[in-house]
Symmetry: C3
Subunit: 353 residues, 3 copies
C-alpha cells in the first residue's frame, strides 16, 4: 500500500523507537513482512518464522530488541512492535478528514441538541431529544432514535440504527449495519400464546467501544445492557438483554451472549462462541472459538470446547461411538473388577456395581 514519502527517522521519532541504519531512508509504502519491498516499512512479531525476517526485502522493519540481530537492514527497535506499527499506520493513513456540517437531506427533530462540530451525511435521521456531542460523525443513512446520546468523537458508519434512549460513549466506532437497542427476546406464555415482555431498559456503551458490522446489542428489560470502556466487538455478534461486558474485553465474530450474563474485564473471546444466559465469566478469561460456555467460569483461565473436524468417514465412525460412550465406561469398569479379582464370577460383579 503506497503512502506519502517519509524519512525513516521521522517515523522512528513518531513512535519513540531506536533507529538503526540510514536515518534519511525514504519510506513510500507499507506491506506485510513477506511482501515488503524496498521503500516499504513493515513489522516483525515474535512467533513469526525468523527466516521470513532474515530474508525480507523490506526497506525497514519495526522489531523488538530480541529480533534485532535477525535483520541486517534498516530497523526501528521498540519494546512493542505491533503497537508501534499501529501508531505508524495511524500516522501514515489518517482517517479521512470529516468537515463538520449537516447534509441538506438530514431529517432532525427540532429539539435535538447537536454540537456545531458534528458531521451528518446524507439521509441521516435524528429523532426528538437526541444529544450529539462534538466531533461526532454520523455517516449516510444512520438512524438515531429519540433521546439517544452520542459522546464526543464517536464515528458511526452508514446504516447503523440506534433505538431510543441508548447512550453511546466518546470515541466509539460503530460499523455499518449494527443495531443498538433492539428489543431483547422475552415472552411470557399464557393460554398457549406468547405475550411480549416490553423491553424498557436501554443500552449503554462506554468510551472507546468498537462494534462490528451488522452486530446487535439488545436493550435491557428493566435496566440497561452495559458494555464497559474499551470493549471491542467484531461483526455479526449478538449481545442479549441485560448483558454486562467488562472494560477492555474483546469478542470475535458471530459469538452470541445470551441474556443477563456478566462477562468480566479483559476477557478475550473467540468467534462463534455461545455463552449461556444468567452466568458469570471471570475477569481475564480466554475462550477459544466455537466453544459453548454453559456454566459460569469463576476462575480465570483458557477454555475450549472446540471439536476439530476430521475426514468425514473417520469422523462418522467417531461420532457414532458417542452413543455407546456411557456404556463403554461401565464395560471397562466391569473388566477392571474382573481383572482385579480374577476368581469372582460375573454374577457377583454385577451385584457389586
Amino acid at each position: 500500500m503506497k503512502t506519502g514519502t517519509h524519512q525513516l527517522q521521522d517515523l522512528a521519532c513518531h513512535i519513540g523507537g531506536e533507529l538503526r541504519g540510514q536515518a534519511d531512508y525514504l519510506i513510500t509504502g507499507v506491506a506485510p513482512l513477506e511482501l515488503a519491498q524496498s521503500g516499504d516499512i513493515t513489522f516483525y512479531l515474535s512467533g513469526t518464522l525468523r527466516s521470513t525476517l532474515q530474508s525480507s526485502q523490506a526497506g525497514a522493519v519495526i522489531l523488538s530488541p530480541q529480533a534485532a540481530e535477525d535483520f541486517v537492514g534498516n530497523a526501528i527497535i521498540v519494546a512493542n512492535p505491533y503497537a508501534a506499527f499501529a501508531k505508524i499506520l495511524h500516522h501514515l493513513f489518517p482517517m479521512p478528514r470529516h468537515e463538520p456540517g449537516v447534509h441538506h437531506s438530514v431529517q432532525m427533530d427540532r429539539d435535538v441538541q447537536v454540537h456545531p462540530e458534528t458531521r451528518m451525511d446524507a439521509f441521516v435521521r435524528v429523532e426528538s431529544g437526541a444529544k450529539i456531542a462534538a466531533g461526532v460523525w454520523l455517516e449516510t443513512g444512520v438512524f438515531i432514535g429519540a433521546n439517544v446520546e452520542i459522546g464526543a468523537g464517536t464515528h458511526i458508519y452508514p446504516g447503523v440504527k440506534i433505538y431510543r434512549n441508548c447512550r453511546i460513549g466518546e470515541r466509539c466506532i460503530i460499523h455499518a449495519g449494527a443495531v443498538i437497542g433492539a428489543d431483547g427476546f422475552g415472552f411470557a406464555e399464557e393460554n398457549k400464546k406468547y405475550i411480549k415482555i416490553p423491553q424498557v431498559g436501554g443500552v449503554q456503551l462506554g468510551n472507546d467501544v468498537e462494534i462490528g458490522a451488522n452486530s446487535c446489542i439488545d436493550r435491557g428489560v428493566l435496566t440497561d445492557t452495559v458494555l464497559g470502556d474499551g470493549v471491542k466487538i467484531d461483526n455479526l455478534v449478538q449481545v442479549g438483554h441485560n448483558v454486562h461486558i467488562g472494560a477492555h474485553t474483546v469478542i470475535a465474530g458471530q459469538t452470541g451472549v445470551a441474556g443477563s450474563t456478566h462477562i468480566g474485564r479483559y476477557c478475550r473471546i473467540g468467534g462463534q462462541v455461545g455463552i449461556a444466559g444468567h452466568i458469570e465469566i471471570a475477569d481475564g478469561s480466554v475462550i477459544a472459538g466455537q466453544s459453548a460456555i454453559t456454566h459460569s467460569l469463576r476462575v480465570p483461565g483458557v477454555y475450549s470446547g472446540v471439536v476439530p473436524a476430521h475426514e468425514i468417514t473417520r469422523w462418522r465412525r467417531i461420532a457414532a461411538r458417542f452413543d455407546g460412550l456411557d456404556t463403554l465406561f461401565r464395560r471397562v469398569k466391569l473388566l477392571e473388577k474382573k481383572s482385579a479379582s480374577p476368581a469372582s464370577s460375573d454374577g457377583e460383579l454385577l451385584n457389586g456395581e
Copy 2:
C-alpha cells in the same frame, strides 16, 4: 426504571390479580426483584431463589399463590406472574404513540395502496403494487418491494428490507436491519460453473410474528417460505428457502435453518442451533442452544448436542482422544472376549471379530 405514579389497586385490577397489603400504595417504578426499592413493582417466578424474594425491598411483588408466604409486603397474587408482569409493563410503558402520516421524504410509487391510518417515517420507499393496511408503522429507511402486503397494526423498525411479493401478517414486529425475501441459496453446476436457480417463490409471515434485528428469511424457490402465526424469531437468525415454521414456535439468536425443513408448532429452539435442510421437527420439540440437528426429530422431546467447554489443556487431551475412540471400542470388545474365555489365544479372538 421510573414510571408515572399508579395506585397498586389499579395495577392489580388491570391484571385481574388478588391484592394483598396497602391498596392505595403508590407505584412509581419497576425493577428486577434483587434491585427493586420502595415504590417499585417487580415479580417473582418459581425457580428463583426464595431468599431473594424474602429479602426484597420492593414496594410490591407480583407472585403466585405458592410464593405468597415468602414475602411479607404488598403483593398481587396471580396464577401466572410472568404474564401478569408483561401486562403491567405494557400498561406502564405503552409503545410511543405513532400518529398516522407520511413523511415528506417518503418515496411511493403511484399504484401503492396505503390505508390512511398508516405512518411512514423519513426515507421510506414503497414500490409498485404494495398494500399497506391500517395502523402499520414503517420507521425510517424501510424498503417495501413491489407487491408486498403488510397486515394491519404491523410495526417495522428502521432499515428493514422486504423484497417483492412477500406477505406480512397483522400485528407483526420486524426489528431493524432484518431482510425478508432475499434469494435462497441455490445453484446448479454446469461446466465447472454455477448457474443461479431463480428464487421465484416468496415469504409469508402469519399474524403476531416477531423477527429480530438483522435476521434473514429467504424467499422460496418455487413456492413460499412460511412462518405461522405467533412465531418469534430472535436476532441474526437465518431461515432458508422453503422452510416452514409452525405457529407459536420460538427460535433464539443466531440459529440457522437450512432449506426446505419443516419445523412444527410450539417448538422452542435455542441459540446458535444448526438445523439441516429437508428434515422435519415434530411439534413441541425443544432444542438446546448450539445443537446440530442433522436428522428429522419425529418424536417431540428435548434434544441437545452441546459440548461444554473445559480448561483448554484438559480439553485438548479429551479432544485428542476422539481420534482413537473407534478403536477403543474394539479394544474393549477384545478385552471382553478374552475375559470371557481366558484360555483362548489372541489369534482365535481376532478371527472371531
Copy 3:
C-alpha cells in the same frame, strides 16, 4: 407459481433438450415435483424417490436419460436436469427490467463516474471518486464509498454498504444489508488498552460473485481481502480481513472465516462452519455444516466435525463422560497389559507405563 403460457417444444428448444410427448403442450406454471399439476413443468434429480416421479401429476418433467422410463408423461430429456431447470426459470421469470436512470433523491459527489446505462433508486449515496459501470443497478438506500469501483451488470440490493476503495466485479449480486469493506478486527495491546490497527487494505470481489443478505466481508489490513470469480456466499457469513477465497467456492449461511486464511477453488463449505485464521484449505475441499476447521486442510476431501444432537438426558450422560475420556484410554491400556501378561503384578505394569 403461474407463468405465462409457453409451448413445451419452445422450452425444450430453449434448453437444448430432447422432447418426448406432446410438442404443443401448454405450460402455464412451475412447481416442485410433488406439487406439480397439469400445466406445470418441473424437474427430477437422481437421488429423489423414484415413486415421487412415477406418481407425479406434472404436465411435463425435465429429467435425465436414466430417469426417462420412470415417467410416462411429457418430458424434456437432458444430461443435467437441474441446470436445465435453472435456465427454464431464468426464461420464464426474467429479472424485473430495470430502466436506466437516477432517482431524483440520489446523492452523488461531482467527481463520480457513472455510465449512462446505470440505474440508481431512491436514497442511494455515491461518494467521491466512485466508478459505476454499464448496467449496474443500485437499489434503494445503497451506500457506495469513495473510490469504489462497480463492474458492469452488477446488481446491488437495498441497503448494502460498500466502504471506500473496494472493487466489485462484473455481474455480481449483493443482497440487502451486506457490508463490504468494514474494518477487520485487529488491535495491539499496550498498557492494558487496545490500540486499533488501521485497516488500510480493501476488498476485491471477482466477476459473478454473489453475497448473501447481511453478510460481512472485511477489508484487509495492508493488502486486500480477495474473493475470486464465481464465489457464492450465503446470508450472515463473516469473512475476515485478508482472507482469500478461490474461484467458484460456495459457502453456506452463518459460516465464519477468520483473518488471513486462504480457501482454495471449487470448495463447498456448509453452514455455521468456523474456519480458523492463518490456515489453508485445499482446492475442492468439502466441509460439512457446523464443523470447526482449526488446522490447514492440505488434502482435498470431505471433512466433518458435527456432533449430532441426542435426546437430552442421554446426551448429558454422554457429554459427562468426555471428562473421563483421557483416563479411560489409560485404563484400557492397563487392562490390555494385564491381559497380555496375566502373571505380572500391578506395580510392574505401572512402572512399564
